[in-house]
Symmetry: D2
Amino acid sequence: MNNHTFKGIIAYPITPFNAQEQVDLPLFKKLVERLVTSGSHGIAPLGSTGVMPYLNDEEKEAITEATIQQVAGRLPVVTGVSNLTTERTIYHAKFAEKAGSTAVMIIPMSYWKLTDHEIFSHYEAVAKSISIPIMAYNNPATGGIDMSPSLLKKLLEIPNVTMIKESSGDLQRMHTLRRDLGEDVAFFNGSNPLALGAFAAGALGWCTAAANLIPELNVGLYEAIQKNDLHAAQDIFYKQLNLLKYILAKGLPRAIKSGLEILGEDGGELRGPLKPLNSQEVTELATLLNAISA
Amino acid sequence: MNNHTFKGIIAYPITPFNAQEQVDLPLFKKLVERLVTSGSHGIAPLGSTGVMPYLNDEEKEAITEATIQQVAGRLPVVTGVSNLTTERTIYHAKFAEKAGSTAVMIIPMSYWKLTDHEIFSHYEAVAKSISIPIMAYNNPATGGIDMSPSLLKKLLEIPNVTMIKESSGDLQRMHTLRRDLGEDVAFFNGSNPLALGAFAAGALGWCTAAANLIPELNVGLYEAIQKNDLHAAQDIFYKQLNLLKYILAKGLPRAIKSGLEILGEDGGELRGPLKPLNSQEVTELATLLNAISA
Amino acid sequence: MNNHTFKGIIAYPITPFNAQEQVDLPLFKKLVERLVTSGSHGIAPLGSTGVMPYLNDEEKEAITEATIQQVAGRLPVVTGVSNLTTERTIYHAKFAEKAGSTAVMIIPMSYWKLTDHEIFSHYEAVAKSISIPIMAYNNPATGGIDMSPSLLKKLLEIPNVTMIKESSGDLQRMHTLRRDLGEDVAFFNGSNPLALGAFAAGALGWCTAAANLIPELNVGLYEAIQKNDLHAAQDIFYKQLNLLKYILAKGLPRAIKSGLEILGEDGGELRGPLKPLNSQEVTELATLLNAISA
Amino acid sequence: MNNHTFKGIIAYPITPFNAQEQVDLPLFKKLVERLVTSGSHGIAPLGSTGVMPYLNDEEKEAITEATIQQVAGRLPVVTGVSNLTTERTIYHAKFAEKAGSTAVMIIPMSYWKLTDHEIFSHYEAVAKSISIPIMAYNNPATGGIDMSPSLLKKLLEIPNVTMIKESSGDLQRMHTLRRDLGEDVAFFNGSNPLALGAFAAGALGWCTAAANLIPELNVGLYEAIQKNDLHAAQDIFYKQLNLLKYILAKGLPRAIKSGLEILGEDGGELRGPLKPLNSQEVTELATLLNAISA
């Protein structure tokens, strides 16, 4: 009965840079390949983890094409195309569709707080310009706007707005979505420390950058939920909780880069003003990662 | 392995008044009897629902004795004894013990914000004066103080502080308690809309006034969790969610009184400044109750 | 044109205790005398600073009578009579009137959040039972309820609710009161760090415990404002700002007790759970007081 | 003794668009001319009001050059050059300097929350690349980052970071700046409803879009403060308060565009997703403007 294209673990690659702060595409493809082969159920380039707002148009397009090429149809791809203006959002949404994305993800980025009417018109204009599905993304912490459950519900009336990603970290929002929209609503959780509570509330999937570091634990939680085994889900959630909280607290691009290096992988460089974790933070992260693999 | 005296549904009776705003003890006993016979696993007089802070000393003592007498050993009883001063808290804790309470519940009531040191000393002084267990209760919305997980953890080092009731409505607090204190920590959820998430996080029980109105749904949720059946727990939780949110939003003493009357029971009167739900609110509550029993 | 009984510096005495945590009435009278002779324009016993909620009925009555007796008509007296229940608030308001208070101050204390209708009825019932003026007091930090400017405006329609004390620390509230109620509205500021901004916004007076420690600076600020000399007001405000922030951060009863001792006065003891400042805090407070008198 | 280049009313022009959502440079110049001739003391293009984040690089450069050309040395110009990445911020700062700006304004725009170290390095890198002064701008509501007074103080140690614009709306921040940095600190208020309180606290100027609509009232407030006439300042502040609150609540670009039209001026179009005020809002704004000119 659950017939959704996206479900389970939707993995977010970082966007690595070289020493001159230019996008390192070969490394990016390698990092995408790791996500594909480690069990994730979907790939989401150009998310917050992928520092999309720090990239210019050509860089975004190169990342989009590199992802599609590397995934090569093995998993569905949902590409981030958010932009402050409606005109630029449409531009990137069309590019993502043409490049072969399965869907696009859109957060209403704000400088000036937008009214509900402005947000709805924004989504509607983008939706009309493409024919692939849209995942509406709510994340007040990064986007600056907090869409209410009733606005999200209204957005789902737009034909190709079919999925919601909730990252407000408020479990009651998910309850309201599930209650108002029924069992079949496709809502995804984007708040790492809420992974267990969100699945218990009926989330279809978990959008997470943690899959760069601990894919087996992320996938394991989803599988326990699929088996209706709450005790197993609890056990595997508490194993990863400390790490989930830590990478969120330190900022996902910074924490994933360092975590990859701790695991012996190349994480590339960051683009300024973002800076790497300091040495104490690296030690703390290594301790958490070691505790998990022990 | 789970050997706790308190677990499952801890039910909170209201304190009914007569037309002269005096405590109606015969009606109170009748309401306690309903809770005992409808499947609850513990009784908690003089909680927020029981408008404890609005009662004078003799009234509190009468309620305590009436509860013990009516429950008559069929269920464990945890009596609220919180007070602004340490001296008065000790007085009421001693009374509750002598009257036969299984345990006492204490929230650090505040007018002036207390330091962690002041809170710890407060609990320590009360704990030394009695030999029954203490449930430390965190509820920033009513008590005015928000105890951190680390303070709660420290309180559990006092020998007879053995249980925690968390009503902040923040699932992450429960995660932290469970992570820091292990599988055997006895933490209870006091936030009605968080009932499913809290059980999923490992809560031992749910402290709720909803058992005055929908005991079979409250108990049913607990039983589904006991059977490790997440899907069943989800179903029964979403059936009661609207009601749980409504009675919390309207204030538990006011909402439970009206709910009892809708169910054909006598709910007594309130003590000023509290006033009954207005007629529109009564209609809304009746609609929610009817939807559940339909 | 300004014909108000209360204006300027309304001083808040602490309630000192002896070693057995009993109210020390002789010391209380001595502390009241200091406030009267140091230039304050009104005296406010049984405020937050006077730990009113920690006192029993007889203690409140003794403090009320001691204040009236000691002030002996030299200054107006506004007595705190707030209580959780309407019945007890009326009781204490009547007592204060009979004892000779010029006015009473009432904050809608809450355990359960009150509706605007409940708050209005509470004030109305008390107002009808006495014939002296009422100062409605808004302080979400201690009282747990945040009365909106529109509710405060409505309260002023009750004939003997004639004054407002705003301690929310939000300057915009004062702007709204002044704008909606005109130049003659009698609003008082109860947030110490907002003293300059509130006077600039048109406050009639400043309710402060700081007058126990630095009365000449408090009075000096008011006098500069009276002379329409903003530059002088700025100078004298910045001289006392650090102290104002410090005593608020540490809790007024605790900070005033220690401050009195630093100044060579007896501050008495506190009642548990409140504890004295620790030695580092005493040193910090002494440094601030010395910097002012230097 | 006050030797600052910027002080008084710093006016923010909107950026008008044509029907195709392209920047309308001739209209922009006309709007700048109105600001110059109506008494403002400085001009600030590419601020929040000028929807800077919604413009591409060429548009920002055109606006910068048009401003310098139109102002023609009559007033100092502080140009907004903020950007998410350090590299782009440097690029625009250099352009602004070369074009003839008196100073640049920089808010640390965030997607990922930046650490204090990242923010400091960001400002330091930009400051080294130019020789004109920088106004560091704190506005958590639009920029997403809330810089503490201690961080702002540290930024002022960078040689050409010489001014601070505080838009957090928290008067205590200004108190702290003034207290820690002395009478000569150049801090500016960017929160319209705080204009009186900020001047009373010692602000050197007021950065405001209101000068597009009510320049004589904005300038009048500053002049009353300059004359040390608090009563006059109060009067003129309360005359404009309702309007100041309204344009802030509705979003400055939207409200200023409509206000200009109400005054008979051309306000141009907005760029999507921003939409004009609806007809009810236009009526409300017209009522407020009429009340002022009456």
